[in-house]
Symmetry: C2
Subunit: 105 residues, 2 copies
């Protein structure tokens, strides 16, 4: 998938991945894999960004003697998803502009 198309989708994908229940880095990557691939460096960058924006909170917990950082979505995070749904209407209208009248759809 095109590199650029991902942008604007990734943040909201990560939020969606932790929406139902708290999750952690490695699991998020695996859960998102069917939809979108992202590297570890990309994910941890996104998580930091979302944390700074208060869209999620972090909690460190031990699991099998290993530390895990569990991420929990906040109200603002949920709000971001709602906002995304609104923006999506504009995206659809752009899509329709691009595919219309091209003579071979």
């Amino acid at each position: 998938m095109d590199n650029q198309l991902k942008r604007g989708l990734l943040d909201v994908c990560v939020l969606a991945a932790i929406r139902k229940e708290d999750s952690y880095g490695y699991k998020i990557i695996k859960d998102l894999k069917p939809y979108v691939e992202l590297s570890e460096s990309t994910l941890y960058t996104i998580l930091k960004r979302l944390e700074a924006a208060k869209m999620l909170t972090v909690r460190t917990a031990e699991h099998d003697g290993r530390l895990r950082k569990y991420y929990h979505i906040t109200g603002q995070g949920l709000g971001r998803i709602e906002e995304f749904k609104t923006e999506w209407k504009a995206v659809i209208s752009i899509y329709q502009f691009v595919v219309k009248e091209d003579g071979n759809e």
Copy 2:
């Protein structure tokens, strides 16, 4: 509209804007305005990029004593639009992942 969401959309929007007939900078911005706003600096950057990628060709012509650069889409440019349509299927599946099961759609 979110800055990041535009990426991956803008290139293909510009190609779509010159698809039916050759166009020039100012007109492209006006034609795209109902769908997506972009500044002149953004557009001319994109046009240069698309030209370098051979997705369009440029021709300078005089109009009312002023110079205009007319952009013409190439086969590769049209191919990019087709590619975009394919990528769109992945985008839709991402969108559905994001909006599903959020308890308040």
